[in-house]
């Protein structure tokens, strides 16, 4: 609260006070009071008027400035009520009390929301765990069936993994372990995971230069890579080919997946990792949730990696995972 704000606010009061002083002076003059006495009275009125203003201003200014400072420094601004010390002037105290009550109610709701989300997260984890059993049973019973049939299982497994990893975004307890992982091993697992759809769709898979070690969590990386590969297969052209390789240089390593599919419009490239984004090419293929790359991108960020994408519409698409300078401490074996 600046001095000018305070003055502007008290303008009416000041005006009334001035009118009052002038009235008193008028009365004194009408009653033919000694001019010296009149001037003394004026002086006293002015002096005490100013003193009152200064006193009032001084009380309030410290409080409001302090409040501003706390608010600016607070991350969770709804906690202001808890941190503010009660001021000595009445309006301030009244507001403070109200602020405290409101803040408390807010905090309780926030806790409730958090509890609800955590509960839901636990449920999803449990659900994923349980459903893997009948899925495994199905996989075994259908092992002699055609690839068309088995592809459904692959798709189900993919959506189930998506659900599991979606709930891993932004958790407080991070369940990843960063270690040295061999890219060749990760890629092999992912390719085998998508075996049925890769074979059925006649995709030529080329792996090269993957004899590289990076710091990451194997399971999380498998999930991220899987989302990229699934997309590469989904948005394919005739004679599909997917090339998976690593590039090293300038203190960083890149894992790249390049496909010769239908590509993505330049204007849509930067939106590819947005939650629920499906792009204009999606309608030509089949309805997609737009979640796979979003989750992959969020997870990559948590691991300290970066996802990038480039494409030529109608020709090719290349997605890279960049393993930069590590921000983590390695877990010693």
């Amino acid at each position: 609260m600046s001095f000018w704000q305070y003055i502007k606010d008290g303008l009416i009061k000041g005006l009334l006070y001035a009118v009052f002083v002038m009235l008193v002076i008028s009365v004194l003059v009408v009653f033919k009071t000694n001019m010296a006495a009149v001037w003394c009275v004026v002086g006293l009125f002015v002096f005490f008027g100013v003193a009152l203003v200064m006193y009032d201003y001084w009380r309030k200014r410290d409080f409001y400035n302090g409040m501003r400072k706390i608010l600016d420094g607070l991350d969770r601004k709804y906690l202001l009520g808890e941190l503010l010390d009660e001021p000595r002037f009445l309006e301030g105290r009244l507001m403070c009390g109200a602020l405290y009550e409101a803040g408390k109610a807010m905090t309780e709701e926030v806790s409730d929301s958090r509890r609800y989300v955590d509960g839901y997260r636990d449920y999803v984890e449990m659900w994923v765990h349980e459903i893997k059993t009948p899925l495994a049973g199905l996989g075994l019973s259908l092992r002699k069936e055609s690839r068309e049939t088995k592809i459904y299982l692959e798709e189900m497994a993919n959506y189930i993994e998506q659900a599991l990893y979606y709930s891993k975004i932004d958790t407080v307890d991070k369940d990843y372990v960063v270690k040295q992982v061999k890219l060749s091993e990760i890629v092999k697992v992912v390719v085998k995971n998508g075996k049925d759809s890769l074979i059925k769709n006649g995709v030529k898979v080329v792996m090269r230069d993957l004899d590289v070690v990076v710091n990451s969590d194997a399971k999380w990386l498998e999930f991220i890579l899987n989302q990229i590969v699934v997309n590469a297969v989904k948005y394919r052209k005739d004679d599909p080919k997917i090339e998976i390789f690593a590039e090293q240089g300038e203190g960083r390593t890149l894992l790249k997946v390049r496909d010769e599919g239908i590509g993505i419009k330049k204007s849509e490239l930067k939106r590819v990792f947005e939650k629920g984004f499906t792009g204009s090419n999606d309608r030509k293929v089949k309805v997609s949730t737009g979640m796979g790359l979003y989750i992959a991108d969020r997870l990559a960020k948590e691991l300290g990696h970066k996802l990038r994408i480039d494409s030529m519409e109608g020709e090719w698409t290349e997605v890279s995972v960049e393993f930069g300078k590590e921000k983590f401490f390695e877990v010693r074996e």
Binding site: H129, L138, K192, K195, V205
Partner: protein
């Protein structure tokens, strides 16, 4: 015959696993009650145990620990939890290997073979069928005196056909087998590989060893 004990509480899954094992030349036994899992494992004379981590009454990893106190029987742990941490914990309790749900049958079988191989200390380097001999280590094919070198894919394909001699093997099965062995061939490449293989067989006097059964697959003559 090699006997495998299946410790899995989901009945349908246990039956399926048993079926798969029987189809692949193993003897299979399934545990029925889980009141004394450790005891049942101890009393069984199985050569290998497939142990699901999530069984009633007792934690699978505890079972493993207790079983290990008395026996060195090879154990492969089956689980749906798939984080690095769980793998590490299981292995530290004494599991020989670890397979995640949902199961890939080929992978499961390969792991069983690998664990049993390790337990018996055996290394199958040479495969024989009639007069044909393939050396897996050197990647060669021999018919009497004639010898020819096979490419990795050709070797895998021929050894798979030999393993299944007497049965018609579908192209899809060969593809699956190749892929499970990290050879990611597509349909066209498979055709090319089989043609080359046939040419090499012809060069050592085994012209019609691989027969085609239309719409069904291939079979060794």
């Amino acid at each position: 015959m090699t006997k495998i004990l299946v410790v899995e509480d989901d009945e349908k899954l246990a039956v399926e696993l048993r079926q798969v094992l029987l189809e692949n030349g193993y003897e299979a036994e399934v545990i029925v009650g889980f009141d004394d899992t450790v005891g049942e494992i101890g009393r069984s004379d199985a050569d290998l145990v497939l142990l699901d981590v999530n069984i009633p009454r007792i934690n699978g990893q505890q079972v493993l620990k207790k079983v290990r106190e008395k026996s060195k029987v090879p154990v492969i742990v089956l689980t749906s939890r798939s984080s690095e941490l769980d793998e590490v914990v299981s292995m530290s309790y004494g599991a020989d290997d670890f397979v995640r749900k949902p199961y890939n049958v080929q992978v499961l079988l390969l792991r069983i073979e690998a664990v049993l191989g390790r337990a018996n200390g055996e290394q199958g380097e040479v495969m024989k069928y009639k007069s044909v001999e393939i050396d897996l280590g050197k990647s060669t094919l021999k018919n009497g005196e004639s010898e020819v070198v096979l490419s990795k894919n050709e070797l895998v394909i021929l050894s798979f056909l030999m393993k299944n001699n007497g049965k018609i093997v579908a192209r899809a099965e060969i593809m699956d087998y190749l892929w499970d062995g990290d050879r990611f061939v597509d349909d066209n490449t498979l055709t090319v590989n089989i043609n080359r293989l046939r040419q090499k067989l012809e060069s050592v006097g085994l012209k019609d060893l691989i027969q085609t059964r239309r719409a069904q697959g291939y079979i060794l003559e």
